[in-house]
Symmetry: C2
Subunit: 342 residues, 2 copies
């Protein structure tokens, strides 16, 4: 069972993955990403090489065989385990929890060599629907506090398989990064009775120098204090706290918007490695409507997607301070991304 451990000085939880414990020699091996076909566990015909199917979109019902369009399985090396009760314990000055949670892989398409923006728009919309479905399903579980969906593209961004896939992790604590964002949003709302993200979106649309693309429903911009060159944020222009609250028509529009943004990034930066991640409302809001603290989450939170191209190395200064040095002003980045042909 993996373990969650708390750092009392940094106030941060860490997952210690004891079951796939790696020895010093394991780190020196440069793994090659498996190719198309027989070798790849995410290709048609190799369904038995993954853990059992949790969910799939198929034309003809079946399980663990080919014929699917989007397929969800447990991660073969899960960072957190779904089985068991949450246990908490003190270890001297430290705090420990057992590693309860969920860690799923969403195989986005049976096509090994097609990346997300190469898929027909309906298939991207199907992926967005699967994101919604996994959020809705996992947030029913009262043990989970937060559900995060993310996508690693390219080995330098942490992808260990080339076949296009996203991941879902449900955590039994609210992650620190999310907790800080939730607190900022809540405090802003308490003073102003306005959503901080709505305020930012209005300012970005007015300034326009950091906007990459905007349509009637969604806007993508390079954040004012971007940590990384060409960092982007996507958000719905109208207030909406929960990614999973989007209807099918909205998800189709989001698919179109997301495809355009990824194509712009691919063309401007020669298909860079990148991560994207969805910050939706916390799960526990659904099963623990506490008075006071979480009462206003539907008003003060605003879901968004962060897209982080991985062009620079994180070094001692960043690890030691949490301060980032970004060599490309977001205004310049947005101009390049706007001007590229897609």
């Amino acid at each position: 069972m993996p373990e969650l451990r708390h750092d009392p000085i940094q106030r941060r939880w860490v997952i210690i993955a004891t079951e796939r414990a790696r020895r010093p020699s394991d780190f020196s091996i440069e793994r090659e990403l498996p190719g198309n076909g027989k070798q790849c566990p995410f290709c048609y015909g190799n369904e038995a090489r993954t853990p059992p199917e949790i969910r799939a979109f198929r034309d003809i019902p079946s399980s663990d065989g080919p014929g699917w369009k989007v397929r969800v399985v447990s991660n073969k090396f899960p960072a957190l385990r779904i089985e068991g009760e949450q246990e908490r314990a003190a270890v001297g000055h430290y705090d420990r929890m057992n590693g309860i949670g969920a860690h799923e892989v969403i195989i986005e398409t049976p096509q090994h060599d097609k990346d997300l923006p190469d898929l027909p728009i309906e298939d991207i919309a199907a992926l967005m629907k699967m994101y919604r479905e996994r959020i809705v399903d996992l947030q029913r579980d009262p043990r989970f506090r937060y559900i995060i969906i993310f996508r690693n593209h390219g080995a330098a961004a942490g992808a260990s398989l080339a076949h296009p896939h996203s991941q879902v992790i449900a955590t039994p604590v609210t992650p620190r990064t999310v907790a800080i964002e939730l607190q900022s949003a809540r405090e802003h709302f308490q003073v102003k009775e306005r959503c901080i993200f709505c305020d930012i979106i209005v300012q970005e649309m007015q300034t326009h120098s950091r906007v990459v693309t905007a349509d009637a429903d969604y806007v993508t911009w390079c954040p004012y204090a971007s940590r990384f060159p060409f960092e982007m944020a996507i958000a719905p222009r109208r207030h909406q706290h929960d990614f999973a609250a989007q209807d099918d028509a909205q998800l189709m529009k989001l698919a179109r918007h997301l495809r355009e943004v990824i194509l712009r990034m691919r063309h401007a930066l020669s298909d860079p490695p990148y991560n994207y991640l969805i910050h939706t409302a916390p799960a526990f809001h659904h099963h623990a409507k506490r008075p006071g603290y979480w009462q206003t989450i539907e008003l003060d939170w605003h879901w968004h997607i962060e897209i982080l191209p991985r062009l620079t190395k994180t070094a001692g200064f960043e690890w030691g301070t949490g301060f980032y040095i970004n060599p490309t002003p977001p205004e310049d980045a947005a101009r390049f991304l706007r001007d590229v042909q897609v």
Copy 2:
């Protein structure tokens, strides 16, 4: 002039380095680290290729010529600029400061191919003295809130020159990571009238399973909630808040301890890329002894060095949550590092 920008949602400052602004094409070029001799700006005879000398240890006084043992220059591409008054401004919802600070390079040795643990112990002690001297000098400047010293080893850890060097950055705000640590230490002290680091060191020495090496003065252990495989922390065993408060005899002992720790890491992990960084007491404590808040810093803070081998890739989950997945339990890491022959 670089700019500091504040993210109102993540509550984090970012340095936007406008003067070395990088275009999309700049990121695709894989730079090769310059070799020994004529090409390297940090080798003897190439002193004119760096910005002017700030300080050096030399047997015969001179400036900007060969003959030095440790040499400090401004970073040629500084993240922050030393000249000017601090200016603060609002930009709509956002906050901006001009990028006042210091960014120095400490060239550790004239020998291009000798890494830190290959140097004679006296030379490592001289480097520690230079660290002390730069901290003492920079913390006199009332514009600076925090001074961080760090070292990037290997291209994967962000080093852009192979010649052994450390860096110093003085920031006009307290970095978020440091602010969280300061707050934890202060709150612990307020309740218990004990230093949180002293408490942790006592527990680590008693448990011993995470201790890598300890002598009468310093201890190195793998933190209970290590973010990264083989992460280590070094601290003085007796309470001391300020790295720069160490006398020459202490620095000689620290040099010996640090060399052993880096050798253990090098042997156990085949000379991995790594970062180390020093968390000393904040600079502003020296020029702004505010009542209340900073009164107890000499009692509640405890300087330490973090050593972070860079064996794993940071991916979407980590960027999106601040949560880390560590595949090597620190108890295993410490055992490997203890058992290796040095």
